[in-house]
Symmetry: C3
């Protein structure tokens, strides 16, 4: 099974995903890392921060190749984003042609309380100052659900919404594991 795992920054996605993958004997694959490896193999970049300087057409080509590479894998959790918040708006991380190439079986959406998300982000050193408010975090969570459902209609993947409350990681991990076995 190929599972897409998404969640906006601060929901605690990595912790939940990695522990669930460990229990299920799944491999976690980061979509962006696969893209970077393809670009490096092709001699297009040496460092990851050069990726965004590539022409858009090339980036999209690499994105599709990454999706195809991952589609050849099984028992894999794909660490990626439904909607990336940019100064130009919410950018779809998995637009239609990429979804169709990726052929996911499940989409797991990790969510958390907007106030807790803000607090987690504030405690996260090294992060640039965050302009988000509880309102914009709510918006990002809501739009992510919409993108997950649209992706589900396009791909037949089922969608699981998993809440990851403060001090509730164990329950979130169990919910992911159960959904994967369901």
């Amino acid at each position: 099974m190929r599972v897409i795992v998404v969640g906006i920054p601060g929901v605690g996605k990595s912790t939940v995903m990695e522990e669930a993958a460990r229990r299920l004997n799944y491999t976690v694959v980061n979509f962006g890392t696969v893209m970077f490896e393809i670009a490096r193999e092709g001699g297009l970049v040496e460092h990851r921060d050069e990726m965004r300087k590539l022409p858009i057409g090339i980036q999209q080509e690499i994105q599709r190749e990454a999706a195809e590479r991952i589609a050849a894998m099984d028992n894999v959790m794909v660490d990626t984003h439904m909607l990336i918040k940019t100064p130009g708006g919410y950018m779809p991380g998995l637009p239609q042609p990429i979804l169709m190439a990726l052929r996911p079986d499940r989409i797991i959406v990790i969510e958390a309380d907007p106030v807790e998300i803000l607090q987690r982000r504030a405690g996260d050193e090294g992060r640039r100052r965050d302009a988000d408010t509880v309102e914009t975090i709510k918006e990002h969570l809501e739009l992510t659900r919409m993108a997950a459902i649209a992706s589900s209609i396009l791909t037949r993947a089922s969608v699981c919404i998993v809440r990851n409350p403060q001090n509730g990681v164990e329950r979130a991990v169990s919910a992911v594991v159960e959904a994967m076995r369901g």
Copy 2:
């Protein structure tokens, strides 16, 4: 006109749909029943509960054939689901290829108050014990709207949201009839 009628368990879909169909002189066709008939005609199953044991590829083939069979009908209300809640998450009842084969003109989404839905389900004998809460029912209602709108963009079908409150069946039926004539 071909109309898809959806609503999560407990909204009172059947009552509203059947009375609206009667007034409009429409036929109600259950999508799952058409699938079963196709499988039985093909000698694949004898009983309805054997359907889910068929290989996924066969099930999808039957699903598409059902959509094509219904697409040949007119003045029909299609009783089906946008998102089926399973242990593995919300599964799309009408993924893109099925929608494209079905070519609906309208999508009618029957909704009710989450608390009333819980109460109706509790009073429904023969139903297995329900793990849903007001929160998860709200989620299912919200995701169903999202799936209906994504389906609308894919098919050009217009979407009607019809509320079916306790003691308000007559108003719900009228709303469906008006939307169909609109």
Copy 3:
């Protein structure tokens, strides 16, 4: 860049869009007007209110031609609707084939408080009596977001949600301008 600007009646879309276009040196193109021009050039209609009397198939053909005509333009803001409220339900203004022909880079959704929307509509002389309530306006706003996100997944366009509060036009215009430059 081609930007789709949408917003339900009463959010104050025109004011925000036109001022943002002026500052960015963009042209505002009304989708419906382009459709009318195509129909008039083809000798199909003389007046705009004849458009809706054309056979559906012809209307869809004109819609696609309008999308292609606009797709050939650059630095353009397309004034249109995600979901048009009709007696038969919410009709998608930009169904999939039209979106694919239009190839937008951005979708800007202008929103406002539902109560303010009702008040603006009430003050709008010449408008036919409005049957909408705060509840149905909330519904229309929510479904519009869903349609925008589904369109984003289909087209790769990024989505910006811009709030236009009473006495906040300047901030709304700035938000649009920043999103366009972002």
